[in-house]
């Protein structure tokens, strides 16, 4: 992990005010609640929860692991809670899709010790590419209660509440954040740390763990009863702000949007009653009914899907049939993208006629007229993926279909690489290229990372062997889970506790699947990579290249720490023909052009030397000294 953890996370000064990242506050809450076991599969915006546990687990004497995927991470946490040790599992929103198969029966059975499932949604897709999934639907589908903190203080407090309620009602709890809560820093007032139980005992109990009909239906009924009891608590966890204000309009809000609403009221200089929901599944029906009865209209502010809005509309039918509900369904608020104060102000201005003293539109119009060159995220200088993409494009040609997957190599979607013709979900590259290969005569290559291979790539590859297609699979093995901040995976030989473990070799796995054509190639050896790709593309059955080379950021960090010499490269201006291949087509961020002259920025060059093999005129050389 590369993020620095706030040192105050382990402070035992009760009442002390410290600044914590939302995700750190989640961990702090778990530590105050006496957690004994934590697990995750890294995924931004939830990554720092696992990374913080990884940094402190040994010190505080609890167990933490990076599991192979979110389903496994959920299951190991279940095992702990079934055995009486409090557990927390964290994941990004898409992780819940992976874990869903075990999630559904979990609410029927329930844990013995408190169990919290922390999930981070990402409205606006700041760190997730594929969809603006709203995980709140999972709470409703699985009947797992959900708490939604709106800032770091609530992150800490709600995790503690979730543990206690989970243990009391024997049902797991979701704590759901969004990017702006997970990646917000704010002041958190600390309570004492609690030394939690780390050793438990699994008590066999067939009345609980036997989920076979008719038991399943009995457990289903018991679970629904629990939800109704928890609804009583939800009633007490909702608060009305500006409750004494006389108004025809009220606002109902949850999560980070609460902050935008409060700021909007200040900036528009109006006071309106605001009902803030915290335990958002099950919703506090009585509290909502009491609130909406007082108004002619309410504005419902929630990011993504109109979930609360629909539930409020249904409640209004009985108690306040004439109530006008402003929200997404009548386009007062957008269904797409994340919210901010501007969006809330726009809606409030439309409803109340109140305006800001400043014309945002005028400025926005001016801003939109500015031509700003795009700055897309790029593969780092010396990234082995760039070398692999370069070799693949030369060897395979542009008519080959490139299946993409999830990891740093997703950046291959951008020019000049264009080596990700589609990207869907963890491990999906293999299934999709198999399907394409079955119904077309096109050549197909799937790119998949090492962590992604362990996470969800193995079933797809087994299927390729089983059902006989012949794609080339290139495993981009950079010896780490890169994009999410350098977490270890099963191929690395180190656990989340920092202990040594077996290093599972991908080449051995794929050979065991019965694949004959398997080669481990160093991406920095461009010619060899080109040769092997060409050879394997001619094969009449599936082939696998493990493109193995450590993430350059890790290499550089290690070299710096060891005071090892880092060689730099330069362009011999006498040999350079100014063709621009190194910059326009290889696109290393350390290479730049000024007035038609190409050069290498010594501060950025990491000394990989791949550009010497890319230059058609052999004009790039190692700097002597």
């Amino acid at each position: 992990m590369e993020e620095e953890v706030s040192s105050s996370i382990l402070s035992n000064e009760k009442g002390k005010k410290v600044i914590l990242l939302g995700n750190e506050a989640i961990v702090r809450g778990a530590l105050e609640a006496g957690i004994g076991f934590a697990s995750t599969y890294p995924g931004t915006p939830a990554s720092e929860v696992g990374d913080t546990f990884s940094a402190i687990a040994k010190k505080v004497g609890i167990y933490f692991e990076y599991s192979t995927n979110e389903k496994v991470a959920l299951e190991v946490a279940m095992g702990s809670s079934f055995s009486g040790v409090r557990s927390l599992v964290s994941m990004k929103q898409f992780g819940v899709n992976v874990a869903a198969d075990s999630l559904m029966p979990l609410a029927y059975v329930g844990p013995n010790a408190g169990m919290v499932i922390m999930v981070a949604d990402d409205p606006g897709c700041w760190s997730s590419a594929q969809s603006e999934q709203d995980t709140r639907y999972y709470a409703r589908m699985s009947h797992i209660p959900m708490l939604e903190p709106s800032d770091p203080q609530e992150c800490k407090d709600f995790v503690k509440i979730a543990f206690d309620l989970s243990e009391k009602f024997k049902i797991p709890f979701f704590v759901r954040t969004t990017t702006r809560v997970s990646h917000e820093r704010g002041i958190v007032q600390l309570d004492n740390l609690t030394i939690g139980k780390t050793k438990g005992f699994f008590q066999k109990d067939m009345s609980k763990f036997n989920i076979m009909p008719p038991n399943t239906m009995r457990l289903h009924k018991e679970m629904l009863d629990k939800i109704e009891k928890i609804r009583q608590i939800s009633e007490k966890m909702s608060f009305v702000f500006n409750g004494n204000v006389k108004s025809k309009l009220g606002i109902i809000v949850s999560g980070v949007s609460f902050n935008y609403v409060m700021e909007s009221l200040i900036d528009l200089n109006i006071r309106l009653p605001v009902l803030k929901l915290s335990l958002t599944y099950p919703v506090p029906e009585e509290k909502i009914k009491d609130f909406i009865k007082k108004f002619n209209s309410v504005l419902v502010v929630e990011e993504l899907e109109p979930i609360l809005e629909e539930e409020i509309l249904a409640l209004a039918k009985n108690v306040s049939p004439k109530l006008k509900v402003y929200g997404k369904k009548n386009d007062y608020l957008p269904k797409v993208g994340e919210y901010d104060e501007e969006i809330v102000i726009t809606a409030l201005t439309r409803i109340t006629g109140r305006e800001l003293g400043i014309s945002l539109k005028k400025y926005l119009k001016k801003f939109k007229e500015i031509k700003i060159p795009r700055r897309f995220a790029v593969l780092c200088a010396g990234c082995p993926h760039r070398a692999t993409f370069w070799a693949t494009k030369i060897a395979a040609g542009k008519n080959t279909i490139f299946g993409g997957d999830i990891g740093c190599y997703i950046l291959g979607i951008y020019p000049p690489y264009h080596t990700q013709d589609f990207v869907f979900s963890m491990g999906a590259s293999e299934g999709i290229v198999h399907g394409i290969e079955k119904v077309t005569d096109q050549k197909v290559i799937a790119f998949i990372g090492d962590s992604t291979f362990f996470h969800g790539g193995m079933p797809g590859l087994v299927n390729i062997v089983f059902n006989k297609s012949k794609p080339l699979i290139i495993v981009m093995d950079n010896r780490i889970t890169g994009m999410t901040g350098h977490q270890p995976n099963p191929g690395v030989g180190r656990t989340g506790m920092g202990e040594k473990t077996k290093e599972i070799k991908i080449e051995k796995i794929v050979k065991a699947f019965g694949i004959k054509h398997v080669k481990v190639v160093d991406p920095f050896n461009v010619n060899k990579m080109i040769k092997i790709i060409r050879k394997f593309l001619q094969k009449d059955e599936v082939s696998v290249i493990v493109a193995k080379r450590e993430c350059r950021l890790l290499t550089m960090r290690r070299k710096l720490r060891a005071d090892e010499k880092i060689y730099k490269y330069e362009i011999d201006q006498n040999k350079c023909k100014r063709c621009g291949t190194c910059l326009f087509y290889f696109a290393c961020p350390a290479i730049y052009e000024k007035g038609g002259i190409f050069n290498i920025d010594k501060n950025l060059c990491t000394g990989c030397g791949v550009c010497t093999q890319v230059c058609p005129y052999k004009a790039i050389r190692k700097v002597k000294k």
Partner: protein, 202 residues
């Protein structure tokens, strides 16, 4: 004080988040409520980064609203443009731009145009009451510092010239809390250089 809103813009690796953390800790030390917002993951790989810090008596939102920034630190001129809509004449926004361009790959690869610095500063005037444009990275390099300390110099400069309502002692304390011990000396030294450089009068 009701609120003070800061946007810090730059490119991944320029120390945007570190600067944000120091300001937040300083605000806490001085007794303010404080909220910040940052982004991780996909955006970090050489992409544009912008962080927000807000402090004051009571702060709800971690995000600065359009037009409401009091100061915008741009560690790279293009990123000043990209965040210019956080500034406005009404809120007397100050842009502090490190005049040290990092050319994005879209310029050579897809032939997009990097506007001249003079033009950038002209545009920023429409969104502010003052634009301070200095090649801070070059100053830091000339003083023998590593250019990753550009952020610290800029912080020293705004504190020294009273462009931010934070006292020096609280900021120094925050630097001590945030920066690894090994680099503390060089950070303080560069901070002081910025602190003592006065805005040229004209």
């Amino acid at each position: 004080m009701k609120e003070f809103n800061i946007v810090i813009a730059g490119v991944g690796g320029q120390g945007v988040i570190t600067l944000m953390r120091i300001i937040a800790e300083a605000a806490l030390n001085q007794g303010y409520d404080v909220k910040t917002s940052e982004l991780h993951g996909l955006a970090q790989r050489g992409g544009p980064i912008s962080c927000h810090v807000r402090f004051g008596d009571k702060i709800y939102s971690p995000l600065v609203m359009q037009g409401e920034a009091h100061i915008i630190f741009a560690l790279e001129p293009l990123e000043a443009l990209r965040t210019s809509y956080y500034g406005s004449k009404e809120n007397k926004t100050i842009f502090f731009v490190n005049n040290y361009p990092i050319i994005p790959l879209s310029v050579p690869v897809t032939k997009e145009i990097y506007p001249p610095i003079i033009e950038i500063n002209e545009i920023l005037k429409d969104f502010s009451s003052k634009v301070i444009s200095l090649n801070v990275s070059e100053i830091v390099r000339k003083e023998g510092g590593n250019i990753v300390l550009t952020n610290i110099f800029m912080l020293g400069y705004v504190v020294g010239n009273n462009l931010i309502p934070l006292e020096k002692e609280f900021v120094i304390e925050a630097i001590k809390e945030t920066v690894p011990k090994k680099y503390l000396g060089s950070n303080i030294q560069i901070f002081d250089l910025g602190y003592n450089l006065k805005i040229p009068s004209r």
